[in-house]
């Protein structure tokens, strides 16, 4: 599916009543990418995110969701196709360049600096804008009070969920225009998960274009504007979150019925 088609289909299937006329912020155009020579993980994957949209990506394990985020963020080499940020090509750009262009990213694994304290981890989140440190620190500690109590503990000794909080907070510290989240809720306790989703939504509503990969697909599709289902390196389904949530095919293949009881 090319970008224009996909945009068109988004409008056509248009669950949301109005046609979206906002600017394209992120555009992934037929991207092919992979790790090993000769093995493509993404096979002509396309995705768009308009200004202020909250996009959810779901799909089976190994579908290439993380790879897609990494490709957008320049951490996996894009072999074909292109990635555009507000119309400018950013294919294979250095990660720190993208950060200065207002893109933030939370990886799925290894997402904290183990030997830095929590506070230092958070400071790293706002490395390029040290002036705003105080403000944002307060903001983040407000969301995750557990962290506030332990600002001097080294992140390496944190529990899995605590790490995940640190990782989330670090991204929130950035105050980016575009936020890429890879399974931010994994490992969080239910109450923290809800908190995290709500905050993501709030941040998004405050104007941050957000693309999140989630395995907690129900929660994700509940809050997102549009969802993509990725399978075998390409976008298999795409549509408004609610619609996907109730699409029997999507349920059968990806969502399962557990959450419905």
């Amino acid at each position: 599916m090319t970008n224009s088609e996909s945009a068109a289909s988004a409008e056509a299937t248009g669950g949301t009543a109005t046609v979206d006329t906002r600017d394209l912020v992120v555009e992934v155009r037929d991207v092919t990418a992979g790790y090993l020579p000769g093995v493509n993980i993404l096979n002509g994957c396309s995705l768009t995110a308009r200004d202020g949209e909250l996009i959810g990506i779901i799909g089976p394990n190994g579908a290439g969701k993380s790879t897609l985020l990494k490709a957008i963020f320049g951490l996996v080499k894009v072999r074909e196709g292109g990635i555009y940020l507000q119309g400018d090509e950013i294919t294979n750009q250095k990660a720190n360049k993208l950060v200065s262009k207002g893109v933030g990213f939370v990886p799925q694994t290894n997402n904290v600096f183990p030997s830095l304290t929590i506070q230092e981890n958070l400071e790293m989140g706002i490395f390029q804008k040290p002036k705003d440190l105080k403000h944002r620190l307060e903001f983040v500690v407000d969301i995750f009070p557990e962290l506030g109590k332990r600002l001097t503990q080294r992140a390496g000794s944190l529990s899995g969920g605590e790490r995940q909080m640190v990782a989330m907070s670090r991204a929130l510290m950035m105050g980016p225009h575009v936020l890429l989240l890879d399974e931010p809720s994994a490992g969080l306790s239910p109450v923290r998960q809800d908190e995290a989703f709500l905050r993501v939504k709030e941040i998004n509503r405050a104007g941050v274009t957000t693309i999140m990969v989630e395995q907690n697909a129900r929660r994700c599709l509940q809050i997102c504007d549009r969802g993509y289902v990725l399978d075998q390196g390409r976008d298999a389904y795409e549509g408004p979150g609610r619609e996907l949530l109730n699409d029997p095919k999507v349920i059968g293949l990806y969502l399962g019925t557990l959450g419905q009881d």
């Binding site: 394990n61 969701k65 529990s159 909080m165 989703f197 557990l258």
Partner: protein
Amino acid sequence: MSDNATPTTPVKTTGLHVGDAGPGCKKVDPIIIADGVKRTFGGLTAVDVAHVEIPRGAITALIGPNGAGKTTFFNLLTGFDKPDEGKWEFDGRSLAHVPAYRVARMGLIRTFQLTKALGLLTVLDNMKLGAKGQSGENLFRSVFPFFWRKQEDDIEAKAKEILSRFKLDAKQEDYAASLSGGQRKLLEMARALMSDPTLVMLDEPMAGVNPALTQSLLDHILDLKSQGMTVLFVEHDMHMVRHIADWVIVMAEGKIVAEGDPHEVMRDPAVIDAYLGAHHDTDLGDDDDPETAEHIHALKELIDDEQ
């Protein structure tokens, strides 16, 4: 994709406890008994369990807020960490000062929350490593293949079977380092099952695993339960806990704070308050919540400040 997502209603094991269900209550047939186990890190008491028993032949869920000490408790039970005090036994045998590998040999296998795939071994080799009692693992016998060839074939067959259940069969010849986050979780769990453990302790096995697959794997676990295996797992996915757990133990700040049947425990206001949260079981999709609106406003200000 297969159609194994068809819902099944698992058979719950009941009548596990003696007397009232509550923190530290006695079990009819406990497989693990821990007494006064305590572990502190500097000033922080991560685990402080007065008494807990894990029922045999059942699926027990260990839940609790982040940082409650669940993983640390796992580490203590399996010999990966040493408690400051306390004693605990498995199958009637004390585990104090027993090194991790011996614990595993007794049939108590655990997985890690932060996965430990053996990166430069193939997925299949990862699995084979999980099998126990391999005669070819002895240096002297390893030189002569006829000692271990047959056993090796059996192990391989078994590994392939489990892999296909875990949807990893396509990746069996790849290095484990090339797996995605969720696939690693799957491998971690599949590998643990290779040794036919008496008790398997899974640390957040399904975090990051696709829901549809989760469902089919739960069936597998129930299968194993029916064959007599005991399962203790940590999980934050309440659907899953409700679905398969026969018993739930709630931990908070290192202590056991509640125990009981899953549905009952999840109705406990204290558990809801500290763990499940008010939004639990509600849709997060609607924007009309006044608190949310307030936050959005604050955020917008923050962003405007920067410009």
